[in-house]
Amino acid sequence: MSEKKKSIATVVSQDIISVGIYSMWLSFPKEQDVAAAAVPGQFISLYCKDGSCLLPRPISICDINKEESSLRIVYRIVGKGTQEFSELLPGDTIMVVGPLGNGFTPKSGKSILIGGGIGIPPMLALAKSLSDEVSVVLGYRTNDLFLKDEFVSYAKVYVSTEDGSAGTKGNVIDAIRAEGLEADTIYACGPVPMLRGVKAFAEEQGIAAQISMEEKMACGIGACLACVCQSAEKDAHSNVNNKRVCKDGPVFDANELLFSTEFGK
């Protein structure tokens, strides 16, 4: 049985990269192997010092530096917890559990990486880890194209914006069609409507797709059954087609995801 431990991470750097979006590097005690064990698509749970914020905040890993035993997260301020994280300064410490979840399974051949909104950060770690031809399609609301430039060294980068102010006007699938992109594997992370569209596109094109899901979590380690998503297969925990996003995911084969709102069917 693997030993999961709470870690006290130290903030290495904290930068504002866009309106309300922060980039933070955290270093971990070398003996705990947190960064060494991490793979793209996994997440870490960050714990607030403010006792009124009880639940850990699950945030995806944006970059991994195994030599420095550090991880980078890029996160948006959405409430009191992420506000607290944004106020941390280099040298400050924070309780972390992770890496958690399964992560992406890298496949050889051409790949398209799709990130929507705050689902973009985990695709950076993945883009860095893939060696064959990589296209990245990033979906934004407006021309606030955070993180886009960092992908350029690792992939051909395409953009869609809802307001048409940059790249293809529309969504990520519109951009893929407009650019005529092809792939053997699609990897995606973003809001559920986008992921539903990615699954439909992958099915239509006969492309394998790995989809990273998001759901409200409490424990983050598979015990509380808060963050389930309806699955085609019986889940290992309860045998009721409810896979746990935190433990069985967050990355699922697209065929595994039903995107239905009816549980127990």
């Binding site: 639940l55 808060a226 127990g264």
Partner: protein, 304 residues
């Protein structure tokens, strides 16, 4: 100098290493948390509610945070008694801890079916959930009326081979009266409190934060209510009380013990700190040493 202090208690005839267990539903069957804490250090592990067949639970979102607390409406998703007996009990038997199995059902017959299946199993106690606020049938429906509490308690006691703990809802007018009904029905112990029914509105989406609209509130914010109810119940029943509701630290646990709880359960705190259970046990021991309390039993119900 460290002198030995006694943390062991007798709970409904079952000797416990210490008075700390887990609150049902927050700890699974221990497998996930065994990566953070030594389950053998706990007085007992209380498992998530198990029914006669698998239950899929409610739609998501199933949880949300509130100030100093949280709401959940998981809806008792569980694998059913077959898989539970095959997988979860053998897992827990690897550890030197007591096993309390939480039982849920939609009808009295469903509770009895699970209790009968557990009769020949090596489990130490049964905890009967007649207080879940998040399922449409069963759960709280049995726990809000003294007549039905007494009746279902005696139906379960007729078949149970292990001591029976009735888990009570705080969503009642007079919890002491409900506890007395459980005692009259033959309960060996009572546990309280289950969660308080609550609601949160997402003002940006202009809808409920939970798909189920309402959920059960837990966490530090509910603790004073839970301490008050444990105290009220302990005054009127002879059977032991398992107290819970927002216990996050050893000091919290000691409040419940002094209010009359023989055992305490740690629930939501596990989410805030995966090793909360063992830290609370260590903290109780430290408090006893510092205050020269040789035996935890000196503290149980010491505030009257």
């Amino acid at each position: 100098m460290s002198t030995s202090v006694n943390l062991s208690v007798d709970f409904a005839g079952v000797p416990m290493r210490n008075p700390v267990t887990t609150a049902s539903g927050t700890f699974g069957s221990g497998a996930e948390y065994s990566e953070f804490v030594d389950l053998s250090a706990l007085g007992a592990v209380t498992t998530k509610g198990v029914a006669s067949v698998p239950w899929p639970g409610n739609q998501t979102p199933r949880i949300c945070e509130t100030y100093g607390g949280m709401l959940n409406a998981i809806g008792l998703q569980n694998p059913g008694i077959d898989l539970f007996l095959k997988r979860d009990i053998p897992f827990l038997k690897q550890y030197d801890t007591r096993i309390i199995v939480n039982v849920c059902g939609k009808t009295p017959e469903e509770y009895v079916r699970v209790v009968e299946r557990l009769a020949e199993e090596e489990v130490d106690l049964l905890e009967i959930n007649i207080s879940c606020p998040n399922v449409k049938a069963g759960g709280i429906a049995f726990g809000q009326d003294p007549v039905s509490v007494e009746k279902i308690t005696s139906q379960i006691k007729d078949r149970a081979k292990q001591p029976v703990i009735m888990k009570l809802s705080p969503n009642v007018t007079d919890i002491a009266q409900i506890a007395q009904a459980a005692e009259a029905g033959g309960a060996d112990a009572v546990s309280l409190i289950n969660t308080l029914t609550g609601m949160k509105i997402d003002i940006n989406r202009r809808t409920f934060a939970l798909a189920n609209k309402t959920g059960g509130m837990s966490g530090p914010a509910v603790k004073p209510i839970a301490v008050r109810m444990v105290y009220q119940v302990a005054q009127v029943v002879k059977i032991p009380v398992l107290g819970m509701g927002g216990i996050t630290t050893a000091e919290d646990a000691l409040e419940f013990i002094m209010a009359g709880a023989t055992m305490v359960a740690v629930g939501t705190a596990n989410f805030h700190n995966p090793s909360a259970t063992v830290e609370i046990i260590q903290g109780i021991e430290q408090f006893m040493r510092e205050n020269k309390v040789a035996d935890i039993r000196e503290l149980i119900g010491c505030v009257r």
